[in-house]
């Protein structure tokens, strides 16, 4: 009796079954994920609309925080406002960082209090630190960030004046400008300079903390005898980056720990609104600087003589 069993059917069947199972399961899984994503996206846009509604509401009130309920839409938002810098009295060791500026954009930082009807004096120290530039810096010399610093102050005869400082970290002779090197101790206070001179990190009002900037200059002699016309109060400082094609951070830091006299006044407000719908949350953050004097008025304010409008 011969027991001749030959066959490959089972093997073939197994292979076919595995392949069919794999294809089928992946199709099912794709479509399930698709639907789940689509419904999460819908929830997400409801949450975003709620977050926008929260910002609209808090812009209209003076309350520190606001809750918006859009019950028909199954969405709600919680919004709050905060000042920059957070508390002038205690934040003088923090550098006030302005949102990154590109070439020819101007960063305005108030030194007197813009929310006071008489623009009352705030910062009154003889030195002030200015930070700018990000690390690493491009090695091609087209991109070394130079800075124009315009300090606006009221002199002892109550006239608005401005004082300009120019600093350029490019090697001297590279660019045909007469800008000061940041480590020049005649114009700036000692301790000024650019990395890699071992600049220590500085705590700023933005995250992450302990930020390192490319350059630092310490303006000095900001006091009565040294400024042209004498000094009644410091008002505003304008920072403008030159030559660089990137957007770079800039910051100002007051020197000393003497309360209001060493601190910077409130500059701007940040509104943050978190909208939620179901399990999704969307956050909107708005930076609003509402007291800004446009830079082109400088030509009118600081003119030497009378300004005449010539009719055409």
């Amino acid at each position: 009796m011969k027991n001749n069993q030959q066959g490959q059917v089972i093997l073939i069947l197994l292979l076919i079954m595995t392949v069919a199972l794999a294809i089928g399961l992946s199709v099912v899984q794709r479509s399930l994920t698709d639907v789940s994503t689509a419904s999460k996206l819908e929830q997400s846009s409801r949450a975003f609309s709620a977050a926008e509604a929260g910002i609209e509401q808090i812009l209209q009130t003076t309350d520190p925080s606001v809750i918006t309920n859009l019950t028909e839409n199954n969405a709600s938002a919680s919004a709050n406002r905060s000042n920059i810098p957070s508390d002038p009295q205690t934040s003088q060791q923090e550098a006030l960082e302005y949102p990154p500026v590109t070439r020819d954009e101007i960063a305005n930082i108030w030194l007197a209090n813009p929310y006071d009807a008489t623009l009352a004096q705030f910062y009154n120290q003889p030195t002030l630190e200015v930070y700018w530039g990000k690390i690493p810096v491009a090695t091609n010399n087209q991109n070394w960030p130079a800075i124009e610093i315009k300090l606006i102050y009221v002199d002892s005869s109550s006239v608005y004046r401005s004082r300009l400082f120019y600093a350029d970290p490019a090697p001297s002779g590279d660019r045909a400008n007469n800008f000061t090197r940041p480590d020049d101790t005649v114009v700036f206070n000692s301790g000024s300079g650019c990395n890699p001179a071992g600049l220590t990190a500085v705590e700023t009002t933005s995250s992450p903390p302990n930020k390192i900037f490319y350059c630092k200059v310490i303006l000095k002699n900001l006091n009565t005898s040294s400024l042209p016309g004498g000094l009644s109060k410091l008002v505003l400082i304008r920072l403008r980056l030159l030559y660089t094609s990137d957007s770079e951070p800039v910051a100002i830091r007051g020197v000393g720990t003497c309360g209001q006299d060493c601190a910077l006044p409130r500059q701007a407000q940040i509104y943050k609104s978190i909208g939620s719908s179901g399990e999704t949350q969307r956050t909107i953050q708005l930076f609003r600087e509402d007291k800004v004097v446009p830079a082109y008025f400088d030509y009118a304010i600081f003119a030497e003589g009378v300004i005449q409008k010539i009719p055409n």
Binding site: M1, G7, V9, I10, L13, L14, I16, M17, A20, L21, I23, G24, V27, V28, R30, S31, L32, D34, V35, T37, A38, S39, L41, E42, S45, R46, S49, A50, E52, A53, I55, E56, Q57, L59, Q60, T61, D63, V66, T68, N69, L70, T71, E72, N73, A75, L286
Partner: protein, 134 residues
């Protein structure tokens, strides 16, 4: 005596394996129409989201004084990609239940309706627009 045992046929194991393979394949094939439905449904949800978002953006860009209260029909070429699709825009003064400080603002409600396999669906997005706001 010669016993000629010649059984041609299929063994039990073969039959069982074949049956189970064929039934798995049938189940998977039966799932395909369902998958196609789900994919279409997610495509529709995407369209609805796009239509609503664009409408809200356009309202925010427009001047606040031009927002007239009332219900209007939304015009968007994507609406006809939805089966029996229609979209309504409702603008009203922000009710006290939402704008608790009685701010000068308008509540916007966008309702998109369409049918999925004959079943009516709708999606609503609400937000607030105020003068001098976003």
């Amino acid at each position: 005596m010669k016993k000629y045992l010649n059984q041609k046929g299929f063994s039990l194991l073969e039959v069982l394996m074949t049956l189970s393979t064929v039934s798995i394949i049938i189940f998977l094939l039966a799932g395909i129409p369902n998958s196609i439905n789900l994919i279409t449904k997610s495509k529709h949800l995407d369209l609805v989201r796009e239509i609503s978002s664009r409408q809200i953006e356009e309202l925010r860009i427009a001047s606040y004084n031009n927002l007239a209260n009332g219900e209007t029909s939304i015009v968007d070429h994507r609406i006809k990609l939805l089966p029996s699709g229609a979209a309504q825009l409702l603008i009203e003064e922000c009710p006290i239940s939402v704008c608790t400080n009685n701010e000068e603002a308008k509540k916007i409600k966008i309702t998109v309706t369409w049918t999925e396999n004959g079943k009516p669906q709708n999606s609503i997005i609400e937000t607030i627009i105020s003068s001098g706001g976003l």
